[in-house]
């Protein structure tokens, strides 16, 4: 069987993949093929039937499906080929992947491959929340499919686990389905919904006001028979337990990159992000293979992913033209409370990440934190932050790259409270 050939193969027709496809066509690449395992392109925004998309990339507020439609239309207009219901199943080589589709099995050979497979929320089981397994346990993703895509019944009263941006999305979805929200429960001391999305919280102030945020608590048991009857929460400080009556539980956030294809291809993963290790040019450990979007690190908003898609396109275009792939690199390791940083390898050529340096996240609120970069015992750089917040990305400057010793040890990044 001879493989289909294309200049660039993009796996995943979400915001990152479609934006990359559009930009590649704009740069003059002849054949750009986007494959999508779902039967419709557009990615996760398709499921989010509420406003809040497109702020950073399109300078306009779209609904999720509207935003997805915009990118699909743009991609089609630009001449990007989109194949849906096509599942990548493995690698023949770093330039050839195998797929299954209703049209049969096949292979695609590409000059460059971009993985933009997105992410998923960590389900209840993977969070080791004990108890029974009744009906009525969701993630935001499965909830939105129930409510918007298939219009299936959900419940009457829900507890939302998490109090970050995606939890707000779950809250809006529940409101649409006329399900009341009993509480949002977060282990952290405050909710984590920030600018520019805070106005959304105000917009839904009525909704939010009726939904108490229980902070400093975790869900410690799920009770029920056929249907959820309630959740037990444990207050972390006092160890006190409390029952919240509900028939629906939504586990939100706690993102895991969908890295199956990346791992099957033997790409090096970053222990912090759990996505493929990439440099400032979104290059993975395999020559000719790039990665972008939420596969890199769990969830950023769709507009951030789309902007990344456009950026990675330029690096793919360069690679197609020059065939150059930088060789040596140094990994960037993070220490708690930093959970991940990206790019997470530094090319010894000293290539700088564009658009504001290195992105990182922390797992707890940090006041007056001094983020420091070391190589071995040598401190290369330090930057002060008045406030670092979990579930919100911060940017670290890249002025220290020139000081990196290419023959030296791995780079380490940590926080010192000043």
């Amino acid at each position: 069987m001879s493989p289909d050939k294309t200049d660039v193969l993009i796996v995943g027709a979400g915001p990152a993949g479609l934006a990359a496809g559009i930009e590649l066509k704009r740069l003059g690449v002849t054949n750009v093929l986007v494959v999508e395992r779902e039967d419709e392109p557009g990615g996760i925004p398709r499921l989010c039937h509420h406003a809040g998309f497109g702020l950073r990339d399109l300078r306009w507020i779209y609904s999720g499906p509207g935003y997805a439609r915009h990118y699909v239309r743009e991609a089609e207009a630009a001449g990007v080929e989109i194949r849906t219901s096509t599942t990548m199943t493995g690698w023949q080589s770093s330039a050839t992947v195998t797929f299954t589709s209703p049209r049969g099995l096949g292979q695609i050979e590409a000059g460059a491959i971009l993985l933009a497979t997105g992410c998923r929320e960590r389900p209840r089981s993977a969070r080791l929340v004990p108890g029974r397994r009744p009906q009525g346990v969701f993630t935001t993703g499965s909830l939105q499919c129930f409510v918007y895509q298939h219009r299936l019944p959900v419940g009457k009263r829900a507890v939302i686990v998490g109090a970050e941006l995606v939890s707000l999305s779950a809250l809006m979805t529940l409101a649409h389905a006329r399900v009341s929200a009993a509480a949002m429960v977060t282990e952290l001391p405050r909710h984590q919904i920030y600018f520019p999305y805070l106005p959304a919280k105000w917009y839904f102030a009525d909704l939010a006001a009726r939904t108490p945020v229980v902070t400093g608590a975790r869900v410690s048991n799920i009770v029920g028979g056929t249907r959820v009857e309630g959740v037990e929460i444990t207050h972390l400080a006092s160890e006190q337990r409390e029952m919240l009556a509900c028939d629906t539980v939504v586990f939100t956030g706690d993102w895991i990159p969908e890295h199956e294809l990346a791992r099957l291809g033997g790409l090096t993963l970053d222990p912090g992000t759990r996505g493929p290790q990439v440099d400032a040019g979104f290059r993975t450990s395999a020559r000719g293979v790039f990665a972008a979007g939420n596969l890199l690190r769990g969830a950023e908003t769709a507009d951030t992913c789309a902007l990344e898609g456009a950026r990675v396109a330029r690096h793919i275009h360069d690679y197609l033209n020059t065939g150059q792939w930088p060789a040596a690199s140094l990994p960037v390791q993070v220490k708690p409370p930093i959970t991940w940083m990206f790019p997470n390898v530094v090319r010894v050529s000293g290539e700088r990440p564009v658009a504001g340096g290195f992105t990182f996240r922390v797992r707890e609120f940090c006041q007056d934190a001094r983020v420091t970069v070391w190589q071995g015992e040598k401190s290369l750089y330090a930057q002060s932050f008045r406030q670092l917040s979990p579930n919100d990305s911060a940017r670290l400057g890249s002025d220290w790259l020139a000081a990196v010793n290419p023959a030296g040890e791995a780079l380490r990044v940590g926080v010192r409270h000043s």
């Binding site: 395992r37 779902e38 039967d39 219901s85 599942t87 199943t89 299954t100 589709s101 209703p102 049209r103 049969g104 099995l105 998923r120 929320e121 960590r122 389900p123 209840r124 089981s125 993977a126 080791l128 004990p130 108890g131 029974r132 397994r133 009744p134 009906q135 346990v137 969701f138 993630t139 993703g141 499965s142 499919c145 129930f146 895509q149 298939h150 299936l152 019944p153 410690s220 048991n221 799920i222 029920g224 028979g225 056929t226 249907r227 586990f251 895991i256 791992r263």
Partner: protein, 493 residues
């Protein structure tokens, strides 16, 4: 698409209307778990009017669905016990049946690892026992060999036992295959039929009564698992009491599969075989079970304590495993009794065989038990008229080692629905979902669909496809999704 034969004639369930079943069955088997299904299948070889009566909404939804899915050879059973004898016989029968019926299995071999001096001293005794049980290929292995066979095992194993015959198989397909073959050969399956009372009529026939309706029969087999003591009492017998023994398990992501080559067994104690680590036929890795006696026969929830204990055990055996994502956690209840052996008894004067107290080796022992039980029934006077034909059964293959529909160019060419993937994590195609909804014993619930196809069993636990599956099943089974969602607990997450 695969064969979708008419079925409602022989499989029926309670659909809101009380039905009185007029005819008198020659024999009723109570409980369509793996043991009851195997017994019904064995009876369906003969020209008998046989009914399999199940309280739950599907086949194999009690102890049979939540266990370690290990096909034990019985090397460590008590020599001379009924369990040892039937396990041995069952092993031979399963070796013929399992591959032929398309049930996923892998003969990985068990590696029993001693971590303390005391455990190492127990090894020769276990070897002796294995040899007495006829497992002559069991042998002692050195610490070096253990670490060579299992490079990711934590350092410090002192020695062990290699049990080549220990295998893994699919705990869902096995009872379904047995019950399907029984139905194909004329047995009737009644779901949603709990038996709450047993009365004897003037003509000597029994009437099994419950909210699902009444079933009249001449002979009774009790294979009610956790409830086998209660059925036993309804018939005036009191030899044993079932105390549910909860076993909690953690299933890890498929990426963990390369970390384990064998079924890693601990040195067993009197109460339990202990916490083991084993690959599954779906390509995951399983850690468990715990063993905790409970008063409640419905308490299939996991506990903080249990999961934490398993986590510690996992860290102590295979630390790399604990760095992988968890796919699922679940708990099952084994029907332990105050006796160590199976509680299989014939009450000839009552035309009744009790097959209860199958405490932890039901899936491994089912076929041996079935043959033995049918022998007892014959002793009690049940005529077993020969039949000309015994139809074979072939189940859809859902294991990881053979060819799945999404990998088969032929199947996709014949029907494009086999190339349309619905559950991405487990690569379950639309064609398989439709087949399951129209099987001889069809999937009626999302959980039934999961057991038949693996859909929803993967790492995302429904993030992507849960709603689509509910909508699909509602369409295919012509059911209202509301009702579908209320039918069965314990589905995903």
């Amino acid at each position: 698409m695969a064969e979708r034969t008419g079925r409602r004639a022989t499989v029926s369930w309670f659909d809101g209307e009380l039905k009185l079943v007029d005819n008198i069955y020659d024999i009723a088997v109570i409980g369509a778990g793996v043991v009851g299904s195997a017994i019904a299948r064995e009876l369906s070889r003969y020209d008998l009017n046989c009914v399999l009566v199940e309280a739950g909404p599907d086949v194999g939804v009690g102890t049979s669905k939540a266990n370690t899915a290990i096909w034990h050879t019985g090397y460590d059973a008590k020599p001379g016990s009924l369990e040892a004898r039937l396990l041995r016989r069952s092993d031979a029968l399963l070796q013929a049946f399992v591959p032929q019926a398309g049930i996923p299995f892998e003969r990985l071999g068990g590696l029993l690892v001693a971590w303390t001096e005391e455990q190492r001293r127990a090894l020769p005794g276990l070897l002796e026992k294995a040899h007495q049980n006829g497992d002559t290929d069991v042998r002692l292995v050195s610490a070096e060999e253990i670490h060579q066979r299992e490079p990711h095992l934590k350092a410090g194993a002192l020695g062990g036992l290699f049990v080549p015959g220990e295998s893994i198989f699919c705990p869902y397909t096995l009872p379904l295959a047995l019950a399907t073959q029984a139905v194909l050969n004329g047995a009737r399956l009644l779901l949603d039929h709990p038996v709450r009372e047993i009365s004897k009529e003037r003509d000597g026939a029994y009437s099994l009564n419950g909210p699902g309706g009444s079933v009249r029969c001449r002979y009774i087999v009790n294979a009610a698992g956790l409830y086998s003591d209660e059925i036993n009492r309804l018939l005036g017998q009191h030899e044993f009491t079932v105390t549910p023994r909860r076993g909690e398990l953690i299933v890890f992501d498929k990426f963990a599969r390369s970390l384990v080559n064998h079924i890693l067994l601990p040195v067993p104690t009197a109460i339990t075989k202990g916490v083991l680590i084993s690959p599954t036929v779906y390509g995951n890795v399983m850690l468990g079970p715990t063993a905790e006696d409970l008063p409640d026969k419905t308490d299939t929830g996991t506990s903080d304590k249990g999961l934490r204990m398993l986590w510690q055990k996992g860290e102590a055996i295979l630390p790399a495993l604990m760095r992988e994502e968890v796919t699922a956690t679940y708990a099952g209840l084994r029907p332990a009794t105050e006796h160590s052996d199976y509680q299989i008894r014939l009450h000839a004067e009552q035309r009744y065989v009790c097959a209860g107290g199958i405490r932890s080796t039901g899936v491994s022992g089912c076929m041996g038990i079935a043959e033995y039980v049918v022998g007892l029934l014959s002793d009690a006077g049940l005529a077993l008229p020969a039949k000309t034909e015994f139809k074979p059964v072939r189940m859809p293959y859902i294991g990881e080692t053979g060819l799945r529909p999404y990998q088969s160019a032929e199947m996709i060419a014949a029907d494009s629905a086999y190339g349309q993937i619905v559950c991405h994590c487990e690569r379950v195609s639309l064609g398989e979902i439709i087949d399951a909804a129209h099987a001889v014993i069809p999937a009626r619930t999302v959980d039934g669909l999961r057991r038949r196809t693996r859909a929803l069993q993967g790492r995302c636990q429904g993030f992507n496809c849960h709603a689509a599956l509910v909508a699909l099943l509602a369409r295919e089974a012509r059911q209202n999704p509301d009702r579908l969602l209320m039918l069965e607990a314990d589905h995903v997450a």
